[in-house]
Amino acid sequence: MLILHCPYCGVDADETELSPGGEAHLKRFGPGSSDEDFQDYLFARENPRGVHFERWRHAAGCGKWFHAARSTDTLEVFGTYSAQTTEPPKEICDRISGKRPGWTWRLFG
């Protein structure tokens, strides 16, 4: 029963208000892409023990999608931020680096 801060409406939302949307920052591959790229886009997912970036929707609240950076093992939340970006904001990456030096996640870290 996580609590995540919705960056749109400002509510600290209980997990019962939220619906999960899987991994964040997927790059869409459409017509013209290779089988490998498309398959990875559809099915290949990170499964880290530690730093992870996720999509959540404030479904029973303002209805907006946002991103959360959190640790899957300690449940620490490093921050939530707009879903309208292709990479995590620098301040959140810096915050993670302060706590988990040397972290990496896909191309980030």
């Binding site: 459409g30 013209g32 999509r55 999608w65 449940l75 620490e76 939340v77």
Partner: protein, 1003 residues
């Protein structure tokens, strides 16, 4: 015998007798008794039978950890199985019954299972599956069926009420013993909001029984003062009979309050589930005493030493007249002293330690109790109660030195802190060698959103065993939680607690240390699941090294008590067998709830009518009053048919279906999803959402569209209308509106966020009424107000206008193949428009029709239905809908996926019509079988039925199905074996059964 003593019993009121029954027999106890203490007071030693061997079982503990005394309580719609007698407060009229026996508790035929014991070693389930099949069927299965199940499930609907409470607090204290109360007071003095939960009916925990002083005051009196102080504080909430059931992510916790279990005559819900958010949680959950592992340690009358002391002090009950105490620590001496002082004959204390105990041993000796050091119990004899004890040397193999007749045995193997709530959300443990126990590791607490610990253990739950340390640890825990919750702790000194010092305990995992096999096969670890020392040893020999695997292989700790008594002894046995250290073997996972909570409390108020909301159309009441046979569609209720007097539902469907084709029908279509998509980029967006082109649709026109997921699979369909330059109006399937609206929002917010588009779900803003059939136009014209002729409102167009005085939008679309108008009006006008249309339809034979008629009409026309022809694995190409997939568009959701090799495989099953050779109706979902068999020896499948109906217009069964190479096999006959044993034969035909050229809808 087990009996009530003449005095003592601090929790009972001897002036208030209470009547209750056990297995139909009447007994009397006192107000304040638990069911367990009252049964013991009435010499009812035998309370149940074990799960596997149906061995006689007696009460072994005095609290939540009790594994044996599980009873069925109440009767009828208030019956509940598996309730612990030790945590059941007695009330007048309580009905209880023992479980797992036939025909009676005393004479149980199932006990012959003991003869089968050699068939039931560790892993017996797994081993049996390997045996030859006949052996399983004729020997094992009947036997397992006989012994399966613990208690019996209630048959009636639960008559009681349950509720949820939500609470937010700065600090939650779980456990109302001296440590919990003191920690709560320390925290509350800072001004923080504090909530204290205690699972029993009394504050104070064990301390009033065990004694000692705090700041010179007797601990029982000190607790009373603490409670008074806390109750006077506005920032403190205190709940008795409320168990901390679980600790979850980010400071979430569940409290399980048994509000009226102890007094069913009281008003209010039976159970209340507290859903709590706390900044910090203090677990002051105490400790549980461990049984000793000796042969016959499950005979009724063998009891935990501290439990025996509880029954004596709290309820004035002794489980025996002649008691033997076996221990590896000093605490059990308290029981011997307490019983002796109350006049019970304590025959012997067997202290496994060669050097015995400390000050308490001296006190016992002064009272004249004989103490044998380095001695152990070799074996307890007796069937349904203890008869005698064989004494042996702890260092030996069990050769009897002496036999003593007695009727009760008190055992103590030391204490295990209750670390469950600490561990639920990831708190780690550390092994304490001096006390041979796992205790919370303060450096590895469960962590919250800020990455910091949010659980603080206190007192005995933190591994502190003496009042002095308990009290100072509680104050320290209270201060830490206060500061971590963001408050300033008051600078106060901890009070001074004093009790008797102990000599060191000595771990005893098997009694005697080298007990021979004969004894080990009678030495029980898990009383409820009948797991013996020899079972765990066998598992280790067979290669089970992981404690989690051993647990599942032997079923140790898998019963309703979740191994509260058995786990530590079991894993010590495993560690010894593996020649490993206990901390290396580790513990199994602690999962909530701490003890079972009622299903009713989990459901709370969410049952019956309020289980989930029902969505009703504006015409719901009219439908209800006119014979609607309701069909749930998502959360909506739709009329399946309007049944008239004297008709069956089937009759009604046949009548309605014919009437639409012959005259005119009227359908409540309000449940159709309605989504407005608007903005400069709306056309571009819809071109991505739908497989076909929507941007080039002209205002005033409609187009049927398909939606696919990014995986390529069909997810929805519906008619899209272009309203103006930048506005489209999308219809979705009934029940699909929320899902499709969310799907659109997701893509807009997370992929194309710079596109200028708004989407709004306006499903409930409009009532929609379909007027369908050859006389539909005449009905609308009678109502008048707008032109609805062939040229004024052509097929697949829409117009706004005034119809019979109503402000409407009419779509000329058809899901039936008939002349059809779908009329949308604001929801508030829905019923009035329905009435007006009904009146106008009077002379034309108009009838309302329901969803089944809708289905038959569309099936006659070969129109697909999402959820029938599609099931999440079907792509539009499978359904012959290539005409609705744009070849011009560079991209749409699903396009890339539909190019994958599996999607373009020519052997994908394709949609066809199916017509039975004898006119009967194909069974829904039936599979067509082809030549040959598959790898499992089953006949190969070549297709399946997706929709099947009886068509009253065609007077035969019609169906659609997906068939291998179907469209190329027109005229072939397929075989469909039914579950009724019949084989149905059907010819592959065109899926359009009626009006193939589509002339009727386009008049």
């Amino acid at each position: 015998m087990s009996t009530r003593l003449a005095n003592q019993g601090r929790l009972i009121d001897r002036s208030k007798p209470v009547k209750f029954t056990f297995n139909g027999k009447s007994f009397t106890g006192f107000a304040g008794d638990t069911l367990a203490s009252a049964l013991l007071a009435n010499d009812q030693m035998l309370v149940g039978r074990s799960f596997k061997y149906h061995r006689p079982r007696g009460i072994v503990a005095s609290g939540a950890e009790e594994p044996n005394a599980l009873l069925g309580l109440g009767s009828g719609d208030r019956f509940e199985p598996n309730q612990r007698a030790t945590t059941t407060e007695l009330f007048d009229g309580l009905e209880s019954a023992s479980q797992n026996h036939w025909p009676s508790l005393e004479y149980d035929i199932g006990a012959v299972n003991k003869a089968f014991a050699r068939f039931l070693p560790a892993g017996f389930y797994y081993k049996m599956f390997i045996h030859p099949r006949p052996f399983w069927k004729h020997i094992y299965e009947p036997f397992i069926r006989q012994s399966a199940g613990l208690g019996r499930a209630p048959k009636d609907r639960d008559a009681d009420r349950y509720e949820h409470f939500y609470a937010f607090t700065d600090i939650l204290v779980i456990g109302g013993g001296v440590a919990g109360l003191l920690a709560a007071k320390t925290a509350a003095q800072s001004g923080a909001k504090v909530m204290v939960l205690e699972q029993t009916a009394h504050w104070g925990g064990r301390a009033p029984v065990d004694g000692g002083t705090v700041n010179g005051t007797a601990v029982a009196d000190y607790i009373a003062i603490l409670v008074t102080e806390l109750e006077a504080m506005d920032n403190v909430t205190m709940r008795l009979r409320c168990m901390g059931a679980g600790v979850y992510d980010h400071g979430y916790a569940l409290g399980y309050e048994r509000v009226t279990d102890h007094a069913p005559s009281l008003e209010g819900p039976r159970h209340r589930l507290w859903r709590i958010r706390a900044k910090q949680i203090i677990t002051a959950t105490g400790a549980i005493e461990r049984p000793l592992s000796f042969a016959g340690n499950d005979v009724p009358g063998v009891m935990l030493a501290a439990a025996m002391r509880d029954y004596a002090v709290n309820y004035g009950v002794t489980p025996g007249d002649k008691v033997i105490v076996a221990t590896n620590n000093d605490d059990a001496y308290r029981t011997a002293i307490c019983l002796k002082e109350m006049g019970v004959d304590v025959l012997r204390i067997l202290d496994a330690r060669d050097t015995g105990g400390g000050e308490l041993m001296e006190q016992a000796r002064e009272l004249g109790i004989r103490i044998d050091c380095g001695r152990a119990i070799g074996k307890v004899s007796g069937g349904k109660r203890v008869k005698k004890v064989a004494i042996c040397a702890q260092a030996g193999t069990g050769a009897a030195l002496e036999e003593i007749s007695c009727d009760a045995v008190a055992m103590s193997g030391g204490w295990s802190p209750v670390v469950h709530l600490w561990s639920h959300c990831g708190g780690k443990l550390t092994w304490d060698d001096s006390l041979s126990q796992f205790r919370p590791d303060p450096n590895r607490p469960p962590t919250g959103a800020d990455g910091q610990g949010f659980v603080v253990p206190a007192g005995t739950a933190n591994g502190e065993m003496h009042l002095g340390e308990i009290v100072s640890d509680a104050v320290a825990a209270g201060k830490k939680a206060t500061q971590d919750a963001g408050f300033k702790a008051k600078r106060t000194a901890a009070p001074r607690g004093v009790d008797t010092a102990y000599a060191p305990m000595e771990p005893v995992w098997l009694m005697p240390r080298n007990a021979e096999m004969e004894l080990r096969t009678k030495t029980w670890l898990d009383y409820q699941n009948d797991v013996k020392v020899s079972d765990v040893q066998l598992a280790a020999r067979e290669g089970y090294e992981s404690v989690e695997h051993t647990k599942r292989y032997t079923t140790l700790g898998m019963a309703t008590d979740q191994g509260k008594l058995s786990n530590i002894n079991g894993l010590a046995t495993l560690a010894n067998a593996l020649d490993a250290k206990i901390p290396q073997v580790g513990t199994t996972t602690f999962r909530p709830p701490y003890t079972p909570i009622s299903m009713g409390s989990i459901g709370g108020e969410a049952r019956g009518e309020v289980f989930q909301p029902i969505r009703r159309t504006p015409m719901h009441d009219w439908n209800e009053a006119h014979g609607a046979d309701w069909e749930p569609v998502g959360q909506w209720r739709r009329p399946y048919a309007y049944v008239r007097d004297g008709e069956t539902v089937h009759d009604a469907v046949m009548r309605e279906t014919r009437n639409v084709r012959e005259a005119v029908g009227i359908l409540d279509a309000s449940t159709l999803g309605k989504i407005v998509v608007k903005g400069p980029d709306a056309g571009r967006f819809l071109d991505m959402m739908y497989t076909n082109m929507m941007s080039n649709l002209k205002p005033g026109k409609c187009r049927y569209g398909l939606m696919c997921s990014e995986n390529g699979f069909l997810i929805d369909d519906g008619v899209v209308a272009r309203i103006d330059d930048d506005t489209w109006f999308c219809h979705t399937t009934t029940g699909g509106a929320e899902r499709i609206h969310a799907h659109m929002e997701e893509w807009l917010q997370t992929e194309w966020w710079d596109w200028k588009v708004y989407v709004a779900n306006v499903t409930e803003q409009f009532a929609q009424i379909a007027v369908v059939g050859p006389k539909a136009r005449a009905v609308l014209e009678k109502l008048g107000g707008m032109d609805v002729g062939k040229d004024d409102l052509p097929f697949m167009e829409w117009r706004d206008g005034i119809l019979g005085g109503f402000d409407v939008r009419i779509y000329r679309i058809s899901f039936s193949g008939e002349l059809s108008y779908e009329i949308a009006v604001s929801a508030s006008q829905g019923q009035a428009l329905w009435n007006a249309l009904r009146s106008a339809g009077d002379g034309f034979g108009m009838m309302p029709y329901g969803t089944e008629t809708l289905h038959i009409l569309r099936a006659e026309k070969g129109f697909i239905m999402i959820g029938d022809e599609s099931d999440g694995t079907v792509i539009p190409q499978d359904l012959g809908l290539n005409w609705a997939i744009s070849k011009k568009k560079e991209d749409f959701l699903g396009k890339r996926a539909q190019q994958r090799s599996h999607m373009t495989d020519p052997t994908r099953w394709k949609l066809v019509g199916l017509e039975t050779t004898d006119g009967s109706v194909l069974p829904d979902g039936a599979y067509a079988v082809g030549e040959g068999v598959n790898a499992n020896g089953q006949r190969n499948m070549v297709g399946r039925v997706t929709s099947t109906y009886y068509s009253p217009n065609l007077n035969k069964g019609i169906a659609m199905g997906l068939v291998l190479n179907g469209p190329d096999r027109m005229g072939e006959v397929l075989e469909f074996p039914g579950t009724d044993g019949k084989i149905y034969t059907a010819t592959i035909v065109d899926p359009v059964f009626y009006d193939k050229d589509g002339e009727k809808q386009n008049v």
